[in-house]
Structures are given as structure tokens and as C-alpha cells.
């Protein structure tokens, strides 16, 4: 037991903070978020070519660095601090994780090197409605063996309008209980993609419409469990990465708001000297610390999960709960922090000019994405208390 960063991890963190301080300042974020693409391709190239973040936790045989999930979360946290705009979460935490979980050797060798080259990717699974697990999949596939055809509408696809590669979840049109994952090029015939403008402009969403999209048999990821459990595990891993980002945002907005209150004077004092302001900051600081523990506990669990054969080990078995705890806690902590920070800023906090609203909107969008606090708490409640409504769910 040694629950602190190693020296190497501290170096990774410091390097990440320094890189993003230079490359993802407020002006850069504002330029990127105003574009439909949503990020600066030069920044993405720098992130890949200089920092190798996109392959941090991808095993070395596929062109990656072979680091762990803790390291990935350190990077996510750093990006969350700066609201850095890049197709990083979608490419790494959604698509690459999907390949690691469900691709066979050949499929990993087919696709992961393309990610390592800097191509972007994402996951499309959500068919609408209020659920954020495998039950949300409504797209369908037909066929078997050599060729499959995909149909359906997908929403809330992160970076879906710009990704080079798509990981698609779909149900067997003949048997709704059979769920599969397909990896394909985004320019495959029959795919229409539409950018959806979002309240949080720093992360882009798209809707996808698939009409008779035909793919070869090997597009179907071989290791995907038909019962949806693989997709749920993928979403758990994504939750942990997203929670790390939220944790970074919580810390950053706290520090920025505190710095502002140290300068701003009212009634002849800095407003930081008012107990109401101090106690708001202290309450955020508490949540920020606990969020940090939640994220890196969950990251350790994810590390063990990905290291062992899936499901082995006491710690690895905690993945669903660890992910739910991290996402529930960090979602609420971030929104709490960003909302209270805006109050600490006072009038300037709700102007476009100051960055407080960017954090506030990001807090809300990442709270909703992959399920909010109540959603994940109910998952945990089911484990502790049995299903709601006496099992009728």
C-alpha cells in the first residue's frame, strides 16, 4: 500500500501542467471552442508528437508507451484544469479502451497503430433517453460471419463529427439481447454525421445516422460480450477518465476563484477576508481533495483490471463500484465548485469575458455525460439494497 504518486508520476503531472499552461491558455481554448471542429489540429499534433499522451496507456506492441491508467488519469486531470480542447477523451478513453477490452489481437493490431499515428476516434452507442449504460443502445445490426449491416441513429457522440474512426455499438435486429461493437472508418458509406452545437463549447458532440452501413466480418470486435457487459465496462473506464478531468476542473476553478477574491476589494477589504467567501472555498477544497482520492483509487482499480485478465483480483472486481463512486462524486463536486466559484466572482463571474462560465458549463456537461450523480448512486444502491421496486426494474 502506497497511495501517492511515484516520482515518475509527479514528473508526468508537472510536464503536463507545463505543456498545457503554454499550449492551452484561455485564448487558445476560446479560439478552439468557437470552431466547429472544436480543437486546434496543431495542438493535437503537439499532444501526440511531443507528449505521446494519446498512447500513454496503450501497450508497447501496438505503438504505445505501456503506462497505466493512473498516468492516463494524471493527463486527464491536467487537461481538465485548463479546459483543453482536443479529441483526447473520445480517442483514448472511449475508442482505444474499447479496442483494449474487446478487440482480438488482429483487431488491436489493425486499429491501435492508427490511433498511435494520430488518427482520432470515438464511440457511438446512445440512442436517446435518460439511461447511460448498455440499455441505451438502440442501433441495430443484421448479418453474421463475413459481413454485417448497421442501421440506426446515435446521439451525444463526443467528437463524432470529426473522428477518423468510429466504434459503434448495436443490437442484433433479430435478438435484442445480443449486443456487439464494430470498429470502422468514419467515411464508410452510409454514415451521416451532424455536429450539434452545445452549451459547453469546449467539448463537441455530434449525432450520427447509419443507413445500411455494410462492414466486413472482422469489424465486429471479437471479445465483446453479447450481454452488454463489455460496453458497460468500457463506460466504467470512461467514467474514471472523465472523473479525473472533473477533478482537475474542480481544483482549477477553486484556485482561480480564490486568487480573484484575494484581489477584489469590497467594503474596504479583500473579499477573500469574508468568512462567507472563505467557507465556500473551504467546502470546495474538501470536495476537491475527496475527488482526488476517488479518482486515483478508481484509477488504481482500472490499472489492475486492465493488467490482469479481466475480472481477476480483489481490487479489479471493484471496477463498477469504483467508477460509479468516482463519477458520482466528481460530477457533483465539480458542479458545486464551479457554481460556488461563480458566486465568489460576483458580477464578473457571469460575464463572457471571465473564464468562470467556461468551467461552469463544462462542469454541467461532464456531469450529464455518462450519467449524473443520481444515476451512479442508484447503481451503487442496487448493489447495497437490491433493485428498486422490489426487483421489477
Amino acid at each position: 500500500m502506497d497511495f501517492k504518486f511515484t516520482e515518475e508520476q509527479v514528473m508526468i503531472r508537472d510536464a503536463a501542467d507545463a505543456f498545457l499552461l503554454a499550449e492551452a491558455d484561455s485564448a487558445a481554448v476560446r479560439t478552439a471552442m468557437a470552431s466547429e471542429l472544436g480543437y486546434d489540429p496543431a495542438f493535437w499534433r503537439a499532444l501526440c508528437d511531443q507528449m505521446y499522451w494519446h498512447v500513454a496507456h496503450i501497450p508497447e506492441q501496438y505503438g504505445g508507451l505501456g503506462l497505466g491508467y493512473v498516468e492516463l488519469c494524471i493527463v486527464m486531470q491536467a487537461m481538465g484544469k485548463r479546459l483543453a480542447c482536443a479529441p483526447f477523451f473520445s480517442t483514448v478513453a472511449l475508442a482505444a479502451n474499447g479496442l483494449l477490452l474487446a478487440g482480438n489481437e488482429a483487431q488491436r493490431e489493425q486499429w491501435l497503430p492508427r490511433i498511435a499515428e494520430g488518427q482520432t476516434a470515438t464511440l457511438a452507442f446512445h440512442g436517446g433517453g435518460r439511461a447511460w449504460d448498455a440499455t441505451a443502445v438502440s442501433g441495430e445490426f443484421t448479418g453474421s460471419g463475413d459481413t454485417y449491416t448497421l442501421n440506426g441513429d446515435y446521439c451525444y457522440v463526443v467528437d463524432g463529427h470529426s473522428a477518423d474512426l468510429l466504434l459503434i455499438a448495436a443490437r442484433n435486429s433479430q435478438d435484442q439481447h445480443e449486443l456487439a461493437l464494430f470498429m470502422l472508418d468514419a467515411d464508410t458509406a452510409g454514415i451521416e454525421r451532424q455536429w450539434q452545437a452545445t452549451m459547453d463549447q469546449t467539448r463537441k458532440q455530434a449525432s450520427l445516422s447509419l443507413s445500411n452501413v455494410t462492414v466486413a466480418g472482422n469489424a465486429r470486435l471479437a471479445g465483446c460480450q453479447a450481454d452488454g457487459s463489455t460496453l458497460d465496462t468500457l463506460l466504467d473506464l470512461a467514467c474514471i477518465a472523465l472523473a479525473a478531468e472533473q477533478c482537475g476542473g474542480t481544483d482549477a476553478i477553486l484556485r482561480q476563484a480564490v486568487a480573484y477574491t484575494q484581489e477584489r476589494e469590497q467594503f474596504g477589504r479583500t473579499i477573500a477576508s469574508f468568512q462567507a467567501i472563505k467557507h465556500k472555498a473551504a467546502d470546495i477544497a474538501l470536495k476537491s481533495e475527496v475527488a482526488m482520492s476517488a479518482v486515483f483509487y478508481a484509477a488504481c482499480v482500472a490499472d489492475e483490471y486492465l493488467a490482469g485478465s479481466a475480472g481477476d483480483g480483489e481490487l479489479a472486481a471493484q471496477l463498477p463500484e469504483a467508477a460509479a463512486m468516482a463519477k458520482a462524486y466528481c460530477s457533483d463536486a465539480y458542479f458545486f465548485a464551479a457554481g460556488n466559484a461563480m458566486q465568489m466572482y460576483g458580477g464578473v463571474g457571469f460575464t463572457w469575458e471571465y473564464d468562470a462560465h467556461l468551467y461552469f458549463k463544462r462542469a454541467k456537461s461532464s456531469e450529464v455525460l455518462l450519467g449524473n450523480g443520481a444515476w451512479h448512486r442508484e447503481r451503487i444502491a442496487t448493489g447495497l439494497l437490491g433493485p428498486a421496486n422490489g426487483g421489477e426494474t
Partner: protein, 393 residues
């Protein structure tokens, strides 16, 4: 104690409701339910014409004494007027600063000539007003006035220099009342004057402030040797007059505000029934809580308006701002949570918000402008409960 209205009042309700039904149509159909908080910058021209339509019907300044062109309505009938106006979807009143603040202040403190000069334009909806209260370095610390008034012997008038902020409707207005320091040696609430300034002159510049909604309800107003047409009261009486003016702000119009809130809540309830959120226990509790909060806000306001016989007028009035601002901010969050994942998707690029999205974002300002929640709590504790004042720096 009696809560029901008597027959004469109910007849009055029929009268105003009928007039609104007949007049809020045709060219004015498009501005129904528009121009409220978060939407104040919209349809300026149409709403100016509507103001004059109201005036022709005799429905402006209904609470003013008849000698100044008002209707001298009783409190009950004013309540009914504002309720029916909001229920019919009457647009945000561009004349409300003149009618509710400037006018009553001029009636109380103005000379006969000043009343003659300014009241008819307000009454007839032809001259619009805005307020010059807050300053950038002041925020909730209203007495921290840096704007200067110097008597220019050449122009035989007071000249104003300085900057005001959070001035809504400034670019639509003909007049602004400005609190400015007449005695350069004075501090805080001493040595201030209350000036009436024509907005159409070279020394006045209006710059919109873009808010987190991407819209600009508020402005900065810069005065550079701007001529003050009049001073209300004497130099040095500015604070007294300004405080009296703020007293007019809490009045019967709050009940109209509540009807607008009811419209928002109704939209949320309809949405929840439509999209299934109405079946989520957390949403049910929160919608119920919002409903209770709004109903009780109404009865709180009615106690406030019914006067001091129960000995607690002051306290009911003291808590009013904190109550509605906190309630409204919660409603904004509730709206987003009922929207769920759809809440992220904008109406149109680049940043066209739906009414509920705008509610979510704009209500973050409710707990800040007009005295932050923290300042409101200080006021309640100090004036309402007799607790010690904050030490000054």
C-alpha cells in the same frame, strides 16, 4: 386575515384581462412572454411601441396618484394588474425603471417643475429610463461611489464623470438617474448627489457587457463631463434619495415576477411529463419543492404587501430577495436536470439557447445582482436579527 379578493377586485381583474386579450395581439403577438430577465435585450422597438399602447389604454403607472396621470389603484388591484399582465404573457416592460423607480422618486423628492418635466414622458411611455447605481469597483458595496459630479460654472450645471455598470436597457433609454459624488473630500454615503442625466449627449457612452448566455442584457455606461439636466434634492442628499428609491423596488410588481416564474415552472412540468423525467423520484421531489417555494413566495409577498399589523413586515420584506433569487437559481438547475442530456444541445449555432437553457445560465446572476446572497444574509442578520455589523477593512 383574509386571502380572497372581493367582488369589485374580481371585476377589475376581468377588465384588465380583457384589455390585455384585445391588445396583446396582432403586431404584439410576437413579443408575448418575451423581454423578461435573460431576454431583456430583445425586441426593443416593439416593446417601446407596446409601452405606448399601454399608456393609451391608461395601463402605465397604475399605482401612481391620479394627479400625476396614474390610476391610484389599491394594493389589491395592483396585485391583480401585475398578475394578469404576467399571466397574459405581457412582455418585459421597457418602462419599468421609470414607472417603478424614477417616477416614484421624483414624485417624492422632486420640485413641481421637475414633476412637470419628467412624469408625463414616463406616464405616456415616450421616455425611457435606466439606472446608474453600481460601479465596477463597488459591486454590492453601493456606497463606494467614485463617479464625480462637478458644478460647471460655465455651463451652469452639474457635470458627471465616471463609470456605472450593470445598467440594463441603457441603449434604449432617454434618461438615467445617477448617484455621483458632489463633495470630492467625502467618503462612502456622505457627499453624494442624485442626478437626472439625458442619455442623448456626447459625454455618455454605452458599452454592452456580454454575459455567459452570449447575450447582453447589461451595459457599462461611461460619463465624460456629461451634463446633468437636474439634481433631485440637494447635494449631499443622494444617499437618502437612493435608499428611498431602492425601497420602491420591492413592491407589488414582485407578484408579476412570480407569474413569470410560474410560466417557467409550468414549462418544466410539461417537459418532465413529456420526456419521462416526471417518473424520476429526485425530479418529482424537486418539482414539488419548486412548486411549494413559489406558492409560498406568493403568500410571503402578500404578507409584505398587507402591511405591518402582524409586526413582521420588515422581516418578510428583508428575506424577499434572498428567497426569490435562491429559488430561481434552483429552478434553473432543475430545468437542466429535467432536460437531461438534451439540455446540452443548443437551438442553433453558434449559441442560440432555448428558454430553459437561458434560464439555467441567467439565473446564476440572480444571486449576485441587486445585492449578492451574501450581502442579503448580512442584511437579514444585521437589520432583522440585530447581529453585529461586519468589520470594515
Amino acid at each position: 386575515m383574509k386571502l380572497s379578493f372581493d367582488t369589485a377586485d374580481e371585476q377589475f381583474r376581468t377588465e384588465i384581462a380583457g384589455w390585455l386579450a384585445n391588445n396583446l395581439s396582432g403586431e404584439f403577438e410576437t413579443i408575448r412572454f418575451r423581454g423578461g430577465p435573460g431576454d431583456e435585450h430583445m425586441f426593443g422597438e416593439e416593446r417601446k411601441r407596446w409601452e405606448q399602447q399601454m399608456a393609451q389604454g391608461g395601463w402605465t403607472c397604475v399605482g401612481w396618484p391620479e394627479e400625476y396621470g396614474g390610476r391610484g389603484l389599491s394594493i389589491e388591484q395592483q396585485v391583480i394588474f401585475h398578475e394578469e399582465y404576467a399571466r397574459a404573457g405581457g412582455p418585459g416592460r421597457v418602462g419599468h425603471i421609470g414607472e417603478g423607480l424614477a417616477g416614484p422618486t421624483i414624485i417624492e423628492f422632486g420640485t413641481a417643475e421637475q414633476k412637470q418635466k419628467y412624469l408625463p414622458g414616463i406616464r405616456n411611455g415616450t421616455e425611457l429610463w435606466c439606472q446608474g447605481y453600481s460601479e465596477p469597483s463597488a459591486g454590492s458595496d453601493l456606497a463606494n461611489v467614485k463617479t464625480k459630479a462637478e458644478y460647471d460654472q460655465g455651463r451652469q450645471a452639474w457635470c458627471i464623470s465616471g463609470q456605472k455598470v450593470w445598467t440594463s436597457l441603457a441603449h434604449e433609454s432617454d434618461w438615467c438617474f445617477v448617484i455621483a459624488r458632489t463633495d470630492p473630500q467625502s467618503q462612502r454615503h456622505h457627499g453624494l448627489g442624485f442626478f437626472l442625466v439625458n442619455m442623448h449627449q456626447p459625454g455618455v457612452e454605452v458599452r454592452p457587457i456580454t454575459q455567459l448566455t452570449g447575450t447582453s442584457e447589461f451595459n457599462e455606461v461611461f460619463f465624460d463631463q456629461a451634463l446633468a439636466e437636474d439634481i433631485l434634492g440637494e447635494p449631499g442628499e443622494g444617499w437618502k434619495i437612493g435608499m428611498a428609491l431602492l425601497g420602491f423596488e420591492r413592491g407589488v410588481s414582485t407578484l408579476g415576477q412570480q407569474m413569470a416564474f410560474q410560466n417557467e415552472l409550468d414549462e418544466i412540468i410539461a417537459l418532465a411529463r413529456r420526456n419521462g423525467a416526471a417518473q424520476e423520484p429526485d425530479i418529482r421531489q424537486r418539482i414539488s419543492e419548486a412548486h411549494i417555494g413559489l406558492r409560498l413566495m406568493r403568500y410571503n409577498a402578500m404578507r409584505m404587501l398587507s402591511g405591518p399589523a402582524d409586526g413582521s413586515l420588515d422581516s418578510a420584506a428583508l428575506v424577499y430577495k434572498l428567497h426569490w433569487a435562491s429559488w430561481h437559481r434552483s429552478l434553473g438547475k432543475l430545468a437542466m436536470d429535467v432536460l437531461g442530456s438534451e439540455g446540452e444541445l443548443l437551438m442553433e449555432p453558434p449559441y442560440e439557447l432555448s428558454r430553459l437553457q437561458s434560464l439555467f445560465l441567467f439565473t446564476r446572476s440572480d444571486t449576485i445582482y441587486g445585492g449578492t446572497n451574501q450581502v442579503q444574509r448580512n442584511i437579514i442578520a444585521e437589520r432583522g436579527l440585530g447581529m453585529p455589523k461586519e468589520p470594515r477593512g
